[in-house]
């Protein structure tokens, strides 16, 4: 029989991508990124019992990860002002095609947005329905859609500026 801890570890391993993306989007240093990753895992573990069977895995993971990144987490390093954002951040390292280069630039640009908007863009890119985006944030579906449409324009402008 698999222990609860092992089962949980497997779940985290299967969904590391989501936690890594959130950790990357809400921090500006590797140290903070690692710290946030671990804090998210810890918060997921603490709410693991209450999650079981109550909601979809993705809903639970997004909520815990975003709540931790946006509200709970205390960064060690000071956050950088937008114009000092590390455009040469390791996001660019090892990029070998246009798509990946755009993804790296996308990370940099999304990081210039306020916390809640970052969450909306991330969930949009992960293809969550607007209803789920709205429910995870506690806003209306219409407003999530309106906001995302405006964010598309902002991101386009920013991407062109940085490119």
């Amino acid at each position: 029989m698999i222990s609860k801890e092992k089962e949980f570890a497997q779940l985290i391993k299967d969904n590391q991508g989501l936690i890594i993306k959130v950790s990357r989007l809400y921090t500006n240093s590797l140290e903070d990124e690692e710290d946030l990753f671990q804090e998210i895992v810890l918060q997921l573990w603490r709410s693991y019992d209450s999650f079981k069977g109550n909601s979809k895995i993705s809903t639970w993971m997004y909520r815990v990860a975003l709540n931790t990144a946006i509200t709970l987490f205390r960064k060690k390093s000071k956050s950088l002002p937008t114009n000092e954002l590390d455009i040469n951040h390791r996001d660019f390292v090892e990029d070998d095609d246009d798509k990946q280069q755009q993804i790296s630039l996308l990370y940099t640009v999304i990081k210039t947005l306020p916390n809640v908007e970052r969450a909306i863009v991330m969930m949009y890119l992960d293809d969550l329905p607007y209803r789920d985006i709205a429910e995870n944030l506690g806003i209306t579906e219409v407003n999530a859609r309106v906001k995302m449409n405006r964010l598309k324009k902002t991101l386009k402008e920013q991407m062109q500026k940085y490119a």
């Binding site: 391993k13 804090e39 709970l72």
Partner: protein, 224 residues
């Protein structure tokens, strides 16, 4: 750089290569890690505030200081310390202590209940609102204690003046002025210190939460 289209990047975003950073053992180690988070800080700051206010209350209850210190002030002003006066003061203070303890007990219960109500798996808005609500419980507790302090001080000042008048005590203008000015200054100082504490501690803690909550409210007010 090709033309930017967010929608077309969805696939690349979802399929971005994710290094498997941690193995089972590393993940299991994380479960025993010490959490560094805002709610935890708010919790311990609130516990410290509770303990501080309650300790002051209990200290006076054990010492029975309020009653005797007020009687000393009265004596200094020349009032006769009669048995009736002492009994009246003792009874009034007993009621105040019961009231103060009941308020503390109620707020400790609310504090615990609101803390337990904070669930990380809720949506962002409810999560922030519950943390703010939790902190507000402690603020309400401190505010009620301040109001109680000001009310009790005002009532006793009026009571002292009333006794002085009833007993026809000849009080020199300077003693009476000293007494009133002393009470006003100490009350203002106490309130000022608490206000300053709030500007600093509460401001730092709540600013981040408010910022995120305002972003959510702004999004919800933009329907077009």
């Amino acid at each position: 750089m090709p033309e930017f289209d967010l929608h077309s990047l969805k696939k690349a975003w979802q399929e971005q290569p994710v290094q498997q950073k941690y193995d089972d053992n590393e993940i299991l180690k994380m479960l025993n890690r010490k959490s560094r988070n805002y709610v935890k800080y708010i919790f311990w700051i609130s516990v410290a505030e509770f303990l501080f206010i309650t300790a002051i209350g209990l200290f006076y209850i054990i010492q029975g200081k309020e009653s005797s210190s007020y009687l000393k002030i009265l004596e200094r002003l020349g009032v006769n310390k009669t048995l009736e006066l002492e009994t009246t003061f003792d009874n009034v203070f007993l009621v105040l202590k019961i009231l103060s303890l009941s308020i503390t007990a109620y707020f400790v219960y609310k504090f615990y209940q609101n803390y337990k109500g904070i669930k990380i798996e809720e949506n962002l808005k409810s999560f922030i609102l519950k943390i703010i609500n939790f902190k507000k419980t402690v603020n309400a507790f401190i505010l009620i204690n301040i109001v109680l302090l000001i009310t009790v001080t005002s009532i006793f000042t009026i009571f002292v003046l009333y006794i002085v008048n009833i007993q026809n005590v000849e009080v020199s203008n300077s003693s009476l002025t000293g007494f009133i000015v002393g009470i006003i200054i100490s009350t203002i100082l106490a309130v000022l210190m608490v206000w300053l504490y709030y500007r600093i501690v509460y401001g730092i803690i709540i600013r981040k939460l408010d910022k995120n909550l305002n972003q959510l409210k702004e999004i919800d007010s933009q329907e077009s």
